[in-house]
Symmetry: C2
Subunit: 115 residues, 2 copies
Amino acid sequence: MTGERDQPDVADLDLGRIFAALAEPMRLKVIMELIRENVSGERSCASFCLPVAKSTLTHHFRVLREAGLISDTDYGNRRGVVLRREDLASRFPSLLQLLDDEAWSRHQLGARLDA
Amino acid sequence: MTGERDQPDVADLDLGRIFAALAEPMRLKVIMELIRENVSGERSCASFCLPVAKSTLTHHFRVLREAGLISDTDYGNRRGVVLRREDLASRFPSLLQLLDDEAWSRHQLGARLDA
C-alpha cells in the first residue's frame, strides 16, 4: 500500500522537537542536503548513503518526519522523502537560512580541506 | 575564587551541539529570555526561576555553556550568566533571529491565552 505517513500540521510544529531532531549529525546532514538541493523533488531514503543499519535509517527518518521536517511516503518497496520547505519557511522563516548557511559553510570547509 | 568557566571558542561552535542544548524546553526558555532582554547584561542563574533542583539547574547551565550559548562566571556565592550574543551572531547569523521570532511568537500566544 502506498501512503504518506502521519506528520504534524504546520500549527503543531515545535521548535524544541525540531532542535532535538537536528541534534543528531546524520539527521542534520540529511536536512542540509535536502536544503542545498533547493528543489521540491523527492529523494529515496537510500540515496543519502548513510552508513547505518536499515532499522537505524528508519528510526532517523521517523524522527525527522515526526518533528515536521520531512514528508515520508511509503511505496512498499522504497520510501520517498521530501523536505517540508514551505511549511518550515512559513512557521520558522530563519530556520532554513540557518541550515543553508551551515551547509554552505561545511561545503566551503570541505573544499578547503580537499584543496 | 571568581572565574569564567571554560567555553568553546567561536571557531569551535558546533550547530549540532547547539541544537542538542536547545532541544530541552527549560534551556530553550533561558536562551529565549536572554535574547528578548536585548542587552548584554549579566543574569544570575537563580533569576530564571526554573522549577528544578539546584543540581539540575547546574547541569542545564553547563550544557548551555559547553555548547557556546552562554558565558558562565562563578562568583563563589552565585553564578552569573551572559548570552554570547556577538559570538553567536558572527558564527550563526540566523540563529538569534530564529530564537527571537520564536520568543515573540510564544509571547504573543501567551498574551492571547491571557486575554
